[in-house]
């Protein structure tokens, strides 16, 4: 509180009487002022997706719950909210413009173009990672599929009801809530309809693990690809927009419930069953999961501690509706602190489970156990509810990834065939299927964390450049920015080294053994080679971007010194 007040008053010198872009450029569509409470809810909804849930699970599996807890708190309090708030303020002081145009103004077109390429790679990686999370959950928690179908159909029907038949939104929402929960209750009540069974196309693989390279995984991936294709190529109001709305209804309830349940653990009597600290310094690349705590922990938990994507949301979205400059602190900073609580509840959900953890299904089990102890509904029913929550959250965001990819491709490859929407979507879906089908998702997760965190470092450095150009103090963003940039490049280099190590040793990486068995070692080699090149490209792009920003920062500092 004291730190945020200091930054708000002394560095940005916010003034409630200074007109914001929402008031200056009111058009009722993009620029219009709204209450800070509405904006806080909206910002929180926009920043809290699957990221703050999956990252803490993986980190707890790698290093124990204590390092995850410490990084979530320290990262959030000293870097995370700083980035969200500062990006929002930078945008407010630049006519509500987003990071891209501001980077263009301050640094030129090359920086903006590199940032776009970076985002394209980010989108591919995260779609592949989420595809694996969804497939694993659908496969291992039987019965999840039917409620998800209910939600997808309800999304399409909701769109028809609201946009075509002009049904009152409240009535349509009530119908949607009833149908969505009917699907979950139906499957929880009648175990006979909990289909399909685990690894239903590969009965020889047992029922405990989802194996990359298996027919079951391929089936689910193709199904996802069809859903993504429909969502990305049809007009927004027909399917995607109403599905997002309908899908978020149960997820909001799930999120609030798990936070309350985590806070009430002293009353419900649940305690930590996982080790507090373990395997802090693994430097052997053949232990393909995990790695040295620095830098890996800092990219494994991205959202919840600090996330680069928030800088885009804060700068291009909420800043256009901010009523007063002084609202930026509760909206930008406050929503980030709340997301940190989501991350902490995720740590709590998996830390109460005994045995091996590290998959999103563990979150469903842990959250099911936590909330079941609080509200008295059976643990199995709540686990099903949380597995539906994971799948729906992943599906909604992934449908958006593919849609946004199509638009970025149109911008970057305007005159080539890759700018065509169908070609762009199909290319992305092929890469997604390939990576999810042959890879190890925890390693790809580190790539995702790396790209996301590097975006955060770049956003912080861009704010430093802006503040330097305005002759304001910069240390509070420059130091965290440099820390994040160095840490994430180091993490990307480490992960590239892991993939390259398996590539040159001609070995499958953990779960890839099944891929090698079914499709041969060549398929594994292609996958590891592709991943190693991807990591190297990301690291090089990161270094180039960081160098540009640091040079820009010192250029503005020199100008400041001269003018003084």
């Amino acid at each position: 509180m004291i730190y945020s007040k200091y930054v708000d008053k002394k560095i940005w010198a916010t003034d409630p009487n200074r007109p914001t872009p929402a008031k200056l450029y009111t058009d009722g569509v993009e620029y219009f002022p709204v209450s800070r409470y509405v904006l806080y809810g909206y910002q929180f909804k926009s920043v809290a997706a699957l990221g703050p849930i999956v990252g803490p699970i993986v980190a707890t599996a790698f290093y124990g719950w204590l390092p995850a807890l410490i990084w979530l708190i320290v990262g959030n309090f000293f870097i995370g909210w700083v980035q969200d708030y500062s990006a929002m303020m930078m945008s407010v002081r630049n006519e509500g413009r987003s990071m891209g145009p501001i980077a263009y103004n301050l640094m030129g077109d090359r920086v903006r173009k590199i940032l776009l390429v970076y985002i394209m790679i980010y989108l591919i990686i995260i779609t592949a990672v989420f595809a694996w999370v969804i497939v694993d959950t659908l496969n291992r928690i039987v019965g999840t599929f039917i409620p998800v179908i209910f939600i997808l159909f309800m999304g399409a029907i909701f769109g028809h009801l609201v946009f075509r038949l002009k049904v009152d939104i409240l009535i349509a929402t009530i119908i949607a809530i009833i149908v969505v929960f009917a699907g979950i209750i139906l499957v929880a009540t009648f175990p006979q309809i909990q289909v399909p069974p685990v690894n239903f196309l590969d009965p020889k693989l047992g029922t405990t693990t989802t194996w990359p390279g298996s027919l079951t995984v391929l089936f689910w991936l193709f199904l996802l690809a069809i859903i993504y294709y429909i969502a990305a190529s049809t007009p927004m109001p027909r399917f995607l927009l109403p599905t997002i709305f309908v899908g978020f209804l149960p997820t909001i309830i799930a999120l609030i419930l798990v936070i309350i349940a985590a806070l009430f653990t002293p009353l419900t009597g649940l305690s930590m069953a996982q080790a507090a600290v373990k395997n802090l310094w693994i430097t052997d690349p053949s232990v393909f999961q995990s790695g040295p705590i620095w830098p890996i922990l800092f990219v494994t938990i991205a959202c919840g501690a600090i996330s680069g994507w928030h800088s885009l949301i804060s700068s291009g979205l909420s800043s256009k509706q901010l009523e007063y400059e002084t609202d930026a602190r509760p909206v930008g900073g406050g929503a980030m602190i709340t997301e940190g609580i989501v991350g902490l509840s995720s740590v709590a959900a998996v830390a109460i489970l005994a045995g091996s953890i590290g998959a999103a299904t563990n979150y469903a089990q842990g959250a099911g156990k936590l909330t079941s102890a609080l509200i008295g509904i059976s643990s199995t029913g709540m686990t099903l509810f949380y597995s539906v929550f994971i799948v729906v959250m992943g599906l909604i965001t992934s449908m958006l990834f593919v849609r946004v990819w199509r638009n970025v491709a149109a911008e970057l490859f305007e005159k080539s065939i890759f700018g065509n929407k169908h070609v762009a979507i199909i290319v992305m879906l092929i890469v997604m299927i390939f990576l999810a089908f042959t890879g190890s998702w925890t390693n790809l997760w580190i790539y995702f964390g790396g790209t996301n965190q590097l975006l955060a470092g770049l956003a912080l450095l861009l704010v430093a450049v802006y503040l330097a150009s305005q002759k304001r103090p910069t240390a509070y963003v420059f130091i965290p920015g440099i820390f994040m940039a160095i840490t994430t490049v180091a993490a990307l280099v480490w992960e590239t080294y892991v993939y390259a190590n398996f590539l040159f040793a001609n070995k499958p990486l953990g779960p890839q053994t099944n891929v090698a068995k079914v499709f041969g070692q060549t398929a594994v080699q292609i996958s590891n080679g592709f991943s190693a090149v991807l990591g190297a490209v990301l690291a090089v792009l990161g270094v180039i971007m960081t160098t540009y920003l640091i040079l820009g920062y010192f250029r503005y500092r020199r100008e400041k010194a001269k003018s003084a």
């Binding site: 806080y40 809810g41 909206y42 909804k45 990221g51 927004m236 927009l241 109403p242």
Partner: protein
């Protein structure tokens, strides 16, 4: 006594009002749909404006009888339409609109 009153006042300022909770829930659940719907309706409105003033811009729609009949009803929003049309747009703004992480 006064310090007690002050403490009570401070405590009550920490508890959000009914309106604040309503606003928060609206922001959390419906604001995105609301914004997107407005944006879609605005896009159709812009198209309508384009049809009406297109001829003045040199685009031959060949429906000038109707456009001239409709013009008085649309003249009031012409300024906002112009602003909307000439506003610089960037792909990064679209990226920010969605929750992609």
């Amino acid at each position: 006594m006064s310090s007690k009153k002050e403490a009570r006042k401070r405590l009550s300022s920490l508890i959000p009002s009914k309106q604040a909770i309503k606003d928060f829930i609206f922001g959390l659940s419906t604001f995105e749909l609301y914004k997107e719907t407005i944006k879609i309706s605005k896009a159709y409105e812009n198209l309508m404006y384009f049809l009406i003033v297109g001829e003045f811009l040199g685009i031959p729609f060949l429906a000038n009888y109707y456009t001239l009949r409709l013009l008085p009803y649309f003249i009031g929003g012409l300024d906002l339409f112009k602003k909307n049309m000439v506003r610089e747009r960037d792909i990064f703004e679209e990226l920010a609109e969605y929750d992609l992480h």
